[in-house]
Symmetry: C2
Subunit: 405 residues, 2 copies
Amino acid sequence: MRSVEDHLQAVLAGVTPLSPLDVTLVESRGCVLAEDVTAPWPLPAFDQAATDGYAVVADDLLTASDGKPTRLAVIDDVPAGYRASHDLTPGKAIRIQTGAPLPEGADSVVPLDRTDGGMREVAVTRGVRAGDHVRHRGDDVELGEVVVPAGTVVGPREIALLAAVGRGRVSVHPQPRVVVLSIGSELVEPGGQLAPGLIADSNGVTIAAAVQESGALAYRVGPLRDDASTLLATLEDQLVRADLIVTTGGVSAGAYDTVKSVLSRLGTVEFTKVAMQPGTPQGHGTLGPDSTPIFTLPGNPVSAYVSFEVFVRPVIRRMLGHERIYRPVVRAVLVDPLPSPAGRRQFARGVLSVEEGRYVVRPAGGQGSHMLGGLSRANALVVVPEDVTEVKPGEAVAVLRLDEV
Amino acid sequence: MRSVEDHLQAVLAGVTPLSPLDVTLVESRGCVLAEDVTAPWPLPAFDQAATDGYAVVADDLLTASDGKPTRLAVIDDVPAGYRASHDLTPGKAIRIQTGAPLPEGADSVVPLDRTDGGMREVAVTRGVRAGDHVRHRGDDVELGEVVVPAGTVVGPREIALLAAVGRGRVSVHPQPRVVVLSIGSELVEPGGQLAPGLIADSNGVTIAAAVQESGALAYRVGPLRDDASTLLATLEDQLVRADLIVTTGGVSAGAYDTVKSVLSRLGTVEFTKVAMQPGTPQGHGTLGPDSTPIFTLPGNPVSAYVSFEVFVRPVIRRMLGHERIYRPVVRAVLVDPLPSPAGRRQFARGVLSVEEGRYVVRPAGGQGSHMLGGLSRANALVVVPEDVTEVKPGEAVAVLRLDEV
């Protein structure tokens, strides 16, 4: 059997971030920036009022006081978005709004609350120092500075700065389009009519949601019956729009599995046993003219989900351009005993919490690969190494956090 | 001035989760479940094969060994999704696939790898105990069990279980539709042509992205000029689709602000000074026939963003039905000194990191309310209480984490 590491290296080999795409700023949210964005002008781009008030020459107000206000003639009125029509000369004032350019000749702004708010003449009761209440050109960002480097995950705060340096669009690594295809004659669309022997296709909706959670776009197809010609036609159809294909089911050792036979004809897919539990039967390769990568995950719902987390999610995160492609791992103290199969790395579903300042983890209910009750309560996967057959209570284990990016 | 707490209580008063809506499972991802979902049948719903192999009576195989295999007649073949046409009788075997119902009369499944895989007759080289390799009805989830309780944030693992108990749709609190409206004659669409005195409307795209990040839907409108009739018409238009309206700009003390005059006519909006920095001028109230809540945030980009984080985001999170509506707060050691205005709670932009096992935080560049460079580098807001005018290096401060939900 192949080790988890070897399989992970194999599926990641050759995977690179998707080619950059220009998108609007709001569309770029959550994506990884594919360019260094520099400032084509400083920020602020011009000296401007930092408050509503009057642009003045500070020296004119040296004696201003409550008892003896200094009176200045108001020669202009500049809302934000406009420029003064006049330069300021000593002894005068120009009414000005926050963000408006400081008029030529002014060296400071007197806040409104130190004045009587006059429109033709203003009485100032307290002076300012030169430079007060002025935002100076370049005091936030310098001309030519890299304001947001390539590789940054774009969020609201980056978007604020990108907009301020004049960008309406930026180049990002786009979201991969992931086709999620579930296969199995026993599968019924969730919510549909069941009959003895049939079960709901939980894999399709689960993996589609996991794809979205990883940051990619999910296109769910199926469930398909275990039928070679339908599968072949569906795959050929879907290849057009897929950056990645993920199938679930149809790969066990039973007599009715069709995935292996179809994919052997269509591409370079290799079926492997990986030394892990759950998730031993893995398939991976490429399909079609663009060598679209494909994963064939096992059909047991827990196996499918764990395989997605361990192998598919890192591939999607790399396509998205993320530097960190793996879930964070912490060390935690195991509370209940956990048996583990010899020679396989176990990914047991667990509930991670903090107790008395340290991480502790408990196995989350039944560990069978069909047991969705335990999976739904889990927020972590407890990783038990291949050579360990039992972890005892109180021992430390590595824990992969499913609730953290 | 009103305290931050008092204003927060005022804006949260009367805010409840939006009325539940039925959505598909994939649509429910990220939403808060509005119903207790119970299992209408146990899981598994029927005894079934846990592996590919042969359904047998365990007692038939007591002497099976490599040297002397036990031979059984194969009387049926059951793929997943089908039921056996025959009951099993002692001395016989039924070929069976993982997940297929255990035939009547069988008590266990012999895995394929302990057999020769025969189709008419099978040679078994190692026996099983009764119950081996069978998933028993109800061993994962009991009939009537609450599998996912109301209030749960739905993710892929919950979706797996919801599908398995037969749900195609679930009732969730839907995403609020938030209209984001920026106001200011100095504003130009990001990427558009600038001229002296004009700046890009960073608030519109930033707040829209922040709305999305909080889990809601953002509809961006504007930038609008500081003009009462345009603003009035736009608000009346947008009210139809809005669960919440957030404006930025147009609320300073300048002579050209129109928001106050328009909103005074249209609703119950109250304009308040809140004892915080940045973000002192706040407006909040309701508009229109449905009493749609509205926030009027200041126009300075840092003030707008901080106000969003402190006041608007908790309101959106409550509308979404989340129990935890606030960002997580940690205590961190301040590295550089941080002056703070008397009588106001400061929300300084900071960079939080872990050094030698403890949280440390550094102010992120310029703290002016127009300074987007610092904001873009920040991952946290350092909260300095009203009565503190300087935090010294080495002192502990409360830090609101902007990169955590």
